[in-house]
């Protein structure tokens, strides 16, 4: 169980109402992971949603040629591992702690049970995910069009 005050440190959760936070808190766990601890690996089954309370996590990806690329340095307050939340078990990246990190973990399966018991909670969470994804999608599109405009030879 994780207290509301801790959950409110997470960007994805902080605007949620107290009753929803209480339900989420009841199925959440706060864990401490050592430096170099691998939370999940690329292309492997991913069952947990992670919310970083303190510390730092790198998200790496290995390309087809075998090169490792660090795509993101996750800072406190951010959430990763959304594949688990959306019922898609395969992870797109590898997550590794680069410092001792305190992380809230939520089982994707338990989140789904919560959503099935309380559709309003599920709907609120999904709307937040959609808003964030939609904004990111539009940003990718704008950057793509900007790049094409700068490099018309690609067309």
């Amino acid at each position: 169980m994780v207290e509301k005050d801790v959950l409110k440190k997470i960007n994805f959760l902080k605007e949620l109402s107290d009753p929803i936070l209480e339900k989420v808190g009841a199925i959440a766990q706060l864990e401490t992971f050592d430096e170099e601890n691998i939370l999940f690996r690329q292309n492997q089954e991913q069952t947990l949603l992670y919310m970083l309370v303190s510390g730092k996590v790198f998200l790496n990806c290995r390309s087809a040629s075998g090169e490792s690329l660090t795509l993101d340095e996750v800072s406190p307050g951010r959430t990763f591992g959304v594949s688990a939340l959306l019922g898609e078990s395969s992870s797109t990246f590898t997550a590794i702690c680069v410092e001792v990190s305190k992380i809230i973990t939520l089982s994707g399966a338990q989140m789904h049970l919560l959503f099935e018991e309380d559709f309003q909670v599920g709907c609120t969470m999904m709307r937040k995910v959609i808003d964030l994804f939609k904004a990111r999608m539009e940003m990718h599109t704008r950057q793509f069009l900007y790049s094409l405009a700068r490099h018309p030879d690609i067309i």
Partner: protein
Amino acid sequence: MVKIEDLKRINLLKDFPEHLLEIIANEAQLSIFGTGTQLMTFNEPVNTFFMLTMGQVALKRELTPKVDVILENIQSGASFGSCSTIKDTAATYTAVCQETCEVISLSGIRIKQLFKENDELAYRMMFGVAQQYKRHLDTRAQMIIKTLDKNPELKKDVEDLENLTLVI
């Protein structure tokens, strides 16, 4: 009104329980559109959620007055215009039928009303739409990573690799 069997051909709805499909079937309309029909226009309000049962629809954006860029070709079973089900927002692309298309459409205003009346319907639709966005974003991320792998000199121009990871 459309047949439940037609709704089951839509990817987003394939796991929907029968009682929700019945609600959607009562509200939806089946239409045929000819080649070149513009179903949505960039920057204009999106009032309709579209589900394609036959044909192909291009989602595009204007690069220059002479050049349009196709962002995606929508095939049968796919859906678009999901922002009409969430809030009043403008279209982020123009949608044009590439051939004769059979389309199931739902009024955005009506579906938002239904969401207020039926939490289960709202949740299952939102869950499906979120999954769709994630798949699109994952596909784009894989394409960008593949491109950077083949053209490492491009990495210095990419300032926001972190946005590929879907950290929220």
